[in-house]
Amino acid sequence: MADSTTAVADTTDDEGGLKRSITGAQLFFYTLGDVLGSGIYVLIGLVAAAVGGAFWIAFAAGVTVAAITGSAYAELVTKYPQAAGSSLYVQKAFGNKALTFLVTVSFLSASFAASGSLAAGFASYFGQLFDGGGPPALLVSLVFVAVLVVINYIGITESVVMNMLMTFIELSGLVIVMIIGVWYVAEGNADFGTLTDISVSGNPALAVLAGVALSFFAMTGFENTANVAEETIDPYRAFPRSLIGGMVVAGVVYVLVSMAAALTVPTDQLAESDVALLEVVKQGILPFSTDLMTTIFTIIALVAITNTTLVTLVTQPRILYGMAREDVVPGVFAKVHASRRSPWVGLLFSGLVVGGLLVTGTLVTEAGGKLDLVNRLALVTVVFLLAIYALVIVTCLKLRGHDEDERAFRASTPLLVLGLVGNLAILYYAVYDDPASLYWCAGLLAVGVVLYLVEQLFGGRSRPRPGTASRAPKGDS
């Protein structure tokens, strides 16, 4: 075969010939940036409404379940370091094409819904820059998505430095909230009774569960780190540390931020606000101009939301690309631009689906439907992701004993079981609390099914299928 000639050699030079580029620290900030931007800025008010002053408990419980799920991902990523993530694990564990398809399409749908929720959240904060006036929210969110699609196409998102910078800005906003909290406590104004107040009538445990379901959107995003698994230096050490470490830090930040918000702003005021974290800044507790602080904080929130939306928009064309290469969806999604090498068809399609969600949501609201678009799409994301998370934990347990590698990370089994129960409990409550979200889930799944049918009916076998490789098979280690 070709490779046996001496003239051609796989070089193992100074950098191993196979140079990887993502360091553990970069992975940590990637996780943190991805998790922190989604939700805390937009959802904290809803969680406060569901639980009362003690809503920090909901954030603590949610992030715990998410971190345990993260440990399952860390185990699977170190065993199978490929970009395909959850679909790959499910395929390895069950070998069932229909199930793998369902997981892939669910993941894609979750990503669409997340982008929609974030875009709507972006519009809420953007409106704050114009004292009540300003362009209509739908227009802002659509332009936002369009701009991100273009940015993605050009490839600015590929800059690791840019990613780190945005994560720092994202963190700075939450640090401001924490400083306000500490300041307020130091001035002796804080009433710590608020932190144990579950003001909702009925079962307090259920109230917290409702809060967890609402806040869970803020915990998602860590699963995207599987994207860079292959490119991480020393993944066996770096991955578990960075992923779980990132989740723990996110958890601490969330708990402190929600405590600060609960102490400084009356719960009902938080509950009524679309931009609840901004209310903390607007209290004017710090001795600076409140107007200036409000503007700065609004911009920080916009950057935070943008950062997370960018990552979700990177994921969608990637999933479509993988599916197209396997002849599951039409081959156009495997098209990459000749010089930019970006999957422009997939990117454009993703932008259109997200735009479609935003328009549909606005139409439903205008038709008199009671709908909080940010919340609804966040919940749809959460329903999809919780189901996937639960399945990934099962997969992790099922794949024990297969492809074992002593360097691979091993998650704690009792914790995984706890995480599985946690994911299912939150999933059950989320669906029970808002069954209408299932229509949205079905609608998004239908997009995937339609693409599948189009490929089956009209698609040719445009590309060679795996297995017909001309290249010599790699030795299985």
Partner: protein, 150 residues
């Protein structure tokens, strides 16, 4: 002379490799390094359009297949052929590789002729031309592409 042949997995990069072979003197070229760069944070970190191999979710495997395919062009030509996969920003990594291997020539493909290439600056070939430590051969597509007839 050490020549770097960059590939982004595009057919044009395969054409560039063949172009080099069509005119260069193999006795003057001591070594060829075929370099592919994976872009970890991109939607599609590496798109392999040159090999026959399917995509199984691993962009590293895709890059490896592309590098293998390009390297096969130079098989039996004379110079020693190295295959190298790097990770990061495409232009930066190609330039770094050129410095590191003390290259005498870098061969890159310039993608399309479309509007986006004239409107949006910053493509890989352009950046390599500007900052490479050695001469750069930019192989552009032929002016009149063959029409695909089904």
């Amino acid at each position: 002379m050490h020549v770097i042949v960059a590939t982004d997995g595009s057919r044009q990069s395969l054409a560039a490799a063949k172009h080099l072979k069509s005119f260069a003197d193999p006795t003057k070229v001591t070594e060829i390094s075929v370099v592919a760069v994976i872009r970890p944070l991109a939607s599609v970190a590496f798109a392999d359009d040159v090999s026959e191999r399917g995509f199984d979710g691993s962009f590293r495997d895709a890059a490896q297949s592309a590098v293998d395919t390009i390297a096969a062009v130079f098989e039996g030509w004379g110079p020693k052929v190295n295959k190298r996969i790097r990770s990061g920003s495409a232009a930066n990594e190609i330039i770094k590789a050129a410095k590191q291997y003390d290259a005498g020539l870098v061969v890159v493909a310039a993608g399309g002729r479309g509007l986006s290439d004239s409107v949006l600056v910053g493509s890989t070939a352009q950046r390599v031309q500007h900052y490479a430590p050695c001469p750069v051969l930019v192989v552009r597509p032929a002016p009149k592409p063959k029409k695909h007839r089904a």
